[in-house]
């Protein structure tokens, strides 16, 4: 890219952006409502952002595009943050994005550092989100073109690369992790074929007709799995007593981890291939490789918490670029946003920044405002959340069990959810005894259908 040609437009864009800074209190209030509602649904697994957004849609249609979309967007990243809270406190990731947060966040909470872990996650998330927004406001038109270069074969390659990266960096050794990846890919197979639309491997059972439900898999493998592990080992009264002391917080290296995570998340967010999940897993793997104390990873390394948190929030922000500049939704939530935009008369496309500069620049400022509100709320509530984590295990486990079962029921919209959740809970116990980490399985499961689709598209292209 010719840098000298970009600079003047950067400066003028920055100036235009500053002029567009929204000051209206009602706008701030709507962003606050969005972020707060998102955080609330984020801490209730299963009841995800799509449901909350659907509830607010009728309100949104009565608003102007900017406040309306900012409200919906607030739900989206507020919920991502809420997912991190449950990951750290209870070990139940409500969304696949929050799994990488759990690796280090959960041990920290068990070691009694829940408040600090939440604060670190909040700060990292704020850094990732804000920097990604600024990057987007200035560079997105140029960068979103990059998304076009990734065709079916490119995307399949990125996903295969992400899986390989995780296989060779996750704890447990490459052989076990590869087994987990193939198990994850196999679990993604039952249900409807993503290309041909035919039912496969369902064995005629209604429990499998919709395939394996992601919420059930996450809640089963992590929340319920931990719980069963603790309950099946009566000599240890609860997970909190087996926790080793947390490694020391090295502020500088944690900050660097957050910055690296931001860059990684920003770039993956622009390419629609499972942005948040891929970015957070990759960031965790990267930090482990770069760390001078790799032995801390899995015991509560702060770098391994900050990196993924920054990257998944950066990816969430960056995934607005394909939506606004290409009209390409990269996940169901973006799809709902696209629908809302169309209704409100905003046509996403490369000419959006020129055609509706007020909306375009204002939107990024609303994202930044939302991130600031999230930072304030996150830091303010960290003490409150952390007190929840100090509840004795005998009070906490019924809550976790309840959240797992209801969450998976809501997620699968039927009894298939809790049944699958229980099955995955037992699988998690078995995997733990075998020394396998379920994390590569989750990544493979999430990427499986997309990898399959893009692989088939590639094969159709050449053969």
């Amino acid at each position: 890219m010719d840098v000298s040609a970009v600079d003047p437009s950067l400066a003028s864009q920055a100036w235009a952006a500053l002029c567009a800074f929204p000051l209206s209190p009602s706008l701030w209030l709507l962003v606050f409502i969005g972020v707060f509602a998102g955080m609330a649904v984020g801490v209730l697994p299963g009841f995800g952002p799509p449901a909350a957004m659907a509830l607010l849609f009728p309100l949104v249609y009565t608003l102007d595009p900017l406040p309306g979309i900012s409200l919906l967007a607030g739900i989206f990243y507020g919920a991502k943050y809420g997912g991190a809270v449950t990951s750290i406190l209870m070990g139940i990731p409500g969304e696949a994005d929050a799994v990488a947060t759990l690796f280090e966040g959960r041990p920290l909470a068990l070691a009694g550092k829940a408040k600090q872990a939440l604060a670190a996650a909040t700060l990292a998330s704020f850094t990732g989100g804000t920097l990604a927004c600024l990057g987007m406001a200035l560079l997105a038109p140029a960068l979103s073109r990059a998304a076009l270069f990734f065709g079916p074969s490119g995307r399949a390659a990125v996903m295969a690369g992400a899986l390989a990266l995780v296989a060779f960096t996750s704890p447990g050794g490459a052989r076990r992790n590869l087994c987990m990846i193939f198990l994850g890919l196999a679990l993604a197979l039952p249900g409807m074929d993503p290309v041909y639309g035919t039912a496969r491997l369902t064995f005629g059972s209604p429990l499998l007709s919709g395939g394996v439900e992601l919420t059930a898999l996450l809640l089963g493998l992590f929340g319920l799995g931990d719980l069963l592990n603790a309950l099946l080992q009566p000599e240890r009264r609860g997970p909190e007593q087996e926790a080793p002391a947390a490694p020391p917080l090295r502020r500088l290296s944690a900050a660097m981890a957050a910055l690296r995570g931001t860059l990684l998340g920003f770039l993956t967010g622009l390419v629609p291939c499972g942005a948040g999940v891929t970015a957070s897993f990759a960031s965790h793997a990267l930090e482990k490789r770069l760390s001078r104390h790799p032995e801390d990873f899995g015991r509560g390394a702060w770098e391994g918490l900050a990196g993924p948190e920054a990257s998944n929030n950066a990816a969430a922000m960056a995934s607005f670029a394909p939506l606004l500049l290409l009209g390409l939704p990269t996940n169901p939530i973006m799809a709902a946003l696209l629908g809302a935009l169309t209704v409100m008369g905003v046509v996403p496309g490369p000419s959006l920044p020129q055609e509706q500069p007020d909306f375009y620049q204002g939107f990024f400022f609303c994202l930044i405002i939302g991130n600031m509100l999230l930072l304030a709320m996150g830091l303010g509530l960290a003490g409150f959340w952390a007190r929840l984590a100090r509840l004795p295990f005998r009070l906490l486990w019924p809550v976790i069990l309840l959240l797992c079962l209801t969450g998976s029921y809501v997620g699968a919209d039927g009894l298939a959810g809790p049944v699958q959740c229980l099955a995955f809970g037992l699988l998690a116990v078995f995997l733990k005894r075998q020394g396998c980490s379920p994390a590569p399985l989750v990544l493979a499961f999430v990427l499986g259908p997309r990898l399959e689709t893009h692989l088939l598209q590639t094969l159709f292209s050449y053969w």
Partner: protein, 290 residues
């Protein structure tokens, strides 16, 4: 209430269904949650609907191909004439075959010429296997054996367009009208027998001497599961019919270049069985039936 939409967001079906849902929401006084289930060119969505609770809390919007063409090609878990109840036909798509504005071919004739020269190595992105535009193109190759393409299935027209803009396919079946207007996509041919008023200069299938693959496949159906109480159905039908007649809805159809073909419940039901019978003859003519 839930409305399952059989195509991915940004497609004409999705736009029309969302506009319809918004109108009906006002009539019914409940929120309608729109859910996109794009896989299997729409059959997944219909299969989900056929299994849904028959209390009127779940409806589906699909293109006719999920009811007419696809069940003949693939084993599906529902019987399109028995397991679902058509409530409304709310539009008929006229997909446009598009290419990049900088592509070497400037009209349909030169595109077909290039296709013949390439001997089947040109790629067309389609919004799903067995989607109406796919059927139309396959029938072109059946009519003229010197034509052949590689069809790359995507999750919807938006994804196919993106692949086109990135240069991963040579053409995409069904381009969105706003992008054609903005000059990002160049229209080659309308893959239907009728031309939308907004693209007067683009040739249709009939102009090129090819058969129309059937208006049934390209029609948009609103479906309910079987055995929903009659009373509920009447209430829903009244609300959705009123929504389909509204100014806003018709504007949305025009925006997505969908022909405003509206058929109420009885008519829609008759139309489905008629199109089902028509399809047999068409497919046999094209050598596509199993």
């Amino acid at each position: 209430m839930r409305l399952i939409v059989a195509f991915s967001p940004g497609s004409a079906l999705d736009g029309a269904a969302r506009a319809l849902a918004r109108g009906a929401e006002k009539e019914l006084g409940v929120d309608i949650i729109v859910q996109n289930t794009a896989s299997g060119a729409g059959t997944t969505a219909v299969a989900q609907l056929a299994k849904a609770r028959a209390d009127g809390s779940c409806l589906a919007a699909c293109a006719g191909n999920a009811l007419i063409f696809l069940p003949r090609r693939n084993p599906v878990s529902y019987d399109p004439l028995r397991d679902v109840e058509p409530l409304l036909v709310f539009g008929q798509a006229s997909p446009v075959l598009v290419t990049r504005p900088d592509a070497p071919w400037r009209d349909m004739a030169s595109f077909l010429e290039a296709t013949r020269k390439s001997r089947g190595s040109m790629r067309i992105g389609i919004p799903g296997l067995g989607s109406p535009s796919h059927t139309a193109l396959v029938m072109m190759t059946a009519k003229d054996p010197s034509l052949s393409w590689r069809f790359i299935p995507f999750g919807g027209p938006g994804e196919a367009e993106t692949a086109l803009l990135g240069g991963h396919v040579d053409a995409a079946a069904s381009g969105a009208l706003p992008r054609i207007r903005q000059g990002q996509l160049f229209p080659l041919m309308i893959l239907a027998g009728t031309r939308p008023v907004t693209l007067p200069q683009v040739p249709t299938l009939a102009d090129g001497g090819f058969a129309d693959p059937g208006r049934g496949d390209a029609s948009f159906f609103l479906l309910a599961p079987k055995n929903v109480p009659e009373e509920t159905l009447n209430r829903l039908c009244a609300a959705f019919e009123k929504a389909a007649g509204s100014e806003d809805f018709l504007k949305t159809l025009e925006h997505f270049s969908v022909a405003p073909v509206l058929k109420a419940r009885e008519e829609a039901k008759a139309f489905l069985s008629e199109a089902w019978a028509e399809e047999d003859a068409t497919l046999k003519a094209a050598g596509l039936s199993r």
